[in-house]
């Protein structure tokens, strides 16, 4: 009886697994079939514009990528006959990549974030040039973003974005952030460091991390951190002094016209102030300030911009603050003492003392 039960269980399990095994077998057959044509090194297509589309694919193409165990038709599932008559449709990553999928793809809502982003909405509006998943992540050689070789890794993402945003990429390459990235410094932000990864919005969209009122917050994520800035000998007081300045305060109260970090330091072309191309180089300060303060002259650069009245190095500003601090303390102490003496005298007289 026991033996019979075991046999029955094995039978049913076998029944469950066999189709899977069979499927695997058919897939491998499909790969072999694909490489019949695509496996030839010279298999390519001359496009109308004169460019060449390389169609060369081997069994090793997906090896090493996150999709190493997938086969062609897992993504190109619209290919049902060989040779296919029409060009296969663009691969739809959302076929597997959604929260709650059963395929073992990472569980994330990034796809939803993407469809809300500037790129996703451009696609929805019918802009054929806007990027889809594979434009940034790559098509066959997709590896994890944490892997330094990935197209979306910190060191390479600027290049990836630069495929379309060419001018900005050129500006960024020359900036202090781009130069540091070139040196392999890992703390430095690339495109996604400020713009976000999937939630990329236009700079005039209030949801954006680089909306005028969010810029200072975004920059201060790193520039207010002593542990990051200390490594490079950069001071962190700029954030605090900006926040206490009129520009910073008005920005906190929601003014969009007031200067934020990038109004003066530049957006993609941020350079150290001793660089003659820097917007905050003393020579360029009149022009930079003149954007909002028409008629700005070199006097705008005489004196520290991020000045902290609490520091002795600020000179006359420190002494002004010092004078007023003690004037206030002494005056108020004297006045409050007078008030309390008055009340004390009144209390005495009310009690019937002299």
């Amino acid at each position: 009886m026991r033996k019979f039960a075991l046999a029955a269980v094995l039978f049913f399990l076998g029944g469950a697994f066999l189709p899977g095994l069979a499927g695997d077998a058919s897939a491998s057959i499909s790969l072999e079939k694909c490489t019949l044509c695509h496996g030839k090194a010279e298999f390519r297509k001359l496009l109308v514009g004169g460019s060449i589309r390389d169609l060369f694919v081997t069994g090793d193409t997906l090896k090493g990528s996150v999709h190493g165990k997938k086969v062609c038709t897992d993504c190109h599932f619209d290919v049902s006959e060989i040779p296919h008559r029409e060009r296969p449709r663009r691969v739809t990553c959302t076929h597997c990549h959604f929260k709650g999928n059963q395929e073992g793809a990472p569980q994330s809502d990034n796809v939803l974030a993407y469809f809300d982003s500037a790129h996703g909405t451009a696609i929805a509006r019918g802009n054929a040039k806007a990027p889809l998943c594979q434009d940034c992540h790559g098509s066959h050689a997709i590896i994890k973003a944490k892997d330094p070789g990935s197209k979306v890794a910190r060191a390479h993402v600027a290049e990836t974005c630069g495929k379309c945003h060419m001018e900005i990429y050129a500006q960024f390459k020359g900036s202090i952030h781009g130069a540091a990235l070139g040196k392999g410094i890992t703390e430095v932000p690339s495109c996604t460091g400020c713009h976000g990864e999937h939630k990329i919005y236009a700079h005039n969209d209030p949801k954006s991390t680089i909306y005028p009122t969010h810029v200072s917050e975004q920059c201060s994520k790193c520039h207010a951190s002593i542990s990051i800035m200390g490594k490079f000998g950069i001071e962190t007081e700029q954030v605090a002094t900006y926040k206490m300045s009129f520009h910073g305060v008005a920005g906190q109260f929601g003014s969009r016209t007031v200067a934020n970090c990038s109004s003066c330091h530049g957006v993609h072309d941020i350079r150290p102030s001793d660089d003659p191309l820097s917007m905050v180089n003393p020579k360029n300060v009149p022009k930079t300030c003149g954007k909002c303060h028409p008629g700005a002259n070199p006097n705008f650069a005489v004196g520290k911009i991020h000045v902290d009245a609490k520091k002795k190095e600020s000179g006359i500003i420190y002494w002004t603050a010092f004078f007023f601090k003690w004037l206030t303390i002494c005056t108020m102490l004297a006045l409050i003492a007078h008030i309390f003496l008055d009340m004390y005298g009144r209390t005495r007289r009310l009690r019937g003392e002299r």
Binding site: K243, F246, V249, A250, Q252, F253, G254, S255, T257, V258, H293, P294, G295, A296, N297, N299, F300, A301, V302, G303, K304, I305, V307, A309, S314, G315, I316, I317, T320, A321, F324, K325, L327, T328, T331, M332, L335, I336, I339, L341, D342, Y344, G345, R346, R348, L350, R351, G352, E353, R354
Partner: protein
């Protein structure tokens, strides 16, 4: 029967009553023990009566003072302290200062919970800066008006000379502090302006000069930077923000105590509106001025009768 006689009579009556009760209670005790006990009771009763009388006479005094105060607005002559022009100046000044404080302080304390509310009340930072400049315009107008008033009008010139601090004020301060501490029974006799009022006046002078000066720097920053370096603007900014704190504290603590929370004034007088003081207030606060006024009147009437 005077008050003291009445008190004595009461004391005698209570004494007799106590005596009778004590005698009754001590009847059974041996004589020396009874004597000691009697002495003890007498001492205790005397203490109690005296304490009661002290408290009661203080209450009487308070009552009398309250009556005097309730009477004074209607009774007696009133004296014009501030003319209409001066009252107008004060109104312009306090409305501008209120505007300036409520639109300026949120910039000094942006993280304070109410700041955002106050800024949004005006419809955002853009509008609140406009309101701040309206307030600034009013304060500048007040300053100019007051300069002209001081130079052109007779009252203005007289008040200016009377407001200059002098040695008498130092003596008054010392006298007043001694009075508060109970060392001197009477408070100092002030003229038209006590040292408190002189301080208020010159504090406003100092505040207006600092605030308007530095405020104009910040208002016309580009024009200022045409002639001055950027750190001059930083100094102006620092002065503006620090002096604002001092002025606000002085107004809210010192001026509000003197004109609102002071028990003589609570919850405030209408002097700023009608500009008049009653005879009682004149006697209390400006006795020397009152004497002067009365002396001048007497002289005038003598002149009139002799003409």
């Amino acid at each position: 029967m005077t008050e003291n006689d009445r008190k004595d009579a009461t004391r005698d009556a209570v004494g007799r009553e106590v005596e009778a009760v004590v005698n009754e209670q001590l009847a059974g005790l041996p004589p020396e023990q009874a004597e000691a006990m009697r002495e003890k009771i007498h001492r205790r009763v005397r203490e109690e009566i005296e304490r009661d009388l002290r408290a009661r006479s203080a209450a009487d005094r308070r009552e009398a003072a309250r009556h005097a105060k309730e009477k004074h607005p209607e009774e007696g002559e009133t004296y014009l302290r501030f003319n209409r022009n001066f009252r107008f100046q004060h109104m312009v000044m306090f409305s501008s200062v209120i505007l300036l404080i409520i639109t300026g302080m949120p910039l000094k304390f942006p993280n304070f919970l109410l700041s955002r509310f106050v800024i949004n009340f005006w419809g955002g930072i853009q509008n609140s800066t406009i309101v701040h400049r309206i307030g600034a315009g009013m304060l500048i107008y007040f300053m100019v008006h007051h300069f002209i008033y001081t130079i052109v009008t007779r009252d203005g010139r007289r008040d200016f000379w009377l407001l200059l601090p002098n040695l008498g004020d130092a003596k008054d301060i010392a006298h007043n502090i001694k009075h508060f501490l109970g060392k001197v029974p009477d408070k100092p006799r002030f003229g038209r302006f006590s040292y408190i009022e002189k301080f208020d006046y010159w504090a406003v002078y100092w505040g207006c000069i600092i605030m308007i000066g530095s405020g104009l720097f910040l208002w016309f920053e580009t024009d200022v930077l045409r002639f001055l370096p950027k750190y001059a603007l930083d100094v102006a900014h620092e002065m503006h923000s620090d002096e604002a704190i001092l002025a606000t504290l002085a107004i809210v603590i010192w001026h509000f105590y003197n004109v609102h929370f002071n028990p003589d004034r609570f919850p405030g007088t209408l002097l700023w509106w009608h500009g008049r003081l009653s005879e009682h207030e004149m006697k209390e606060e400006h006795p020397l001025e009152l004497e002067e006024i009365l002396a001048r009147r007497a002289k005038e009437s003598v002149e009139v009768t002799h003409r």
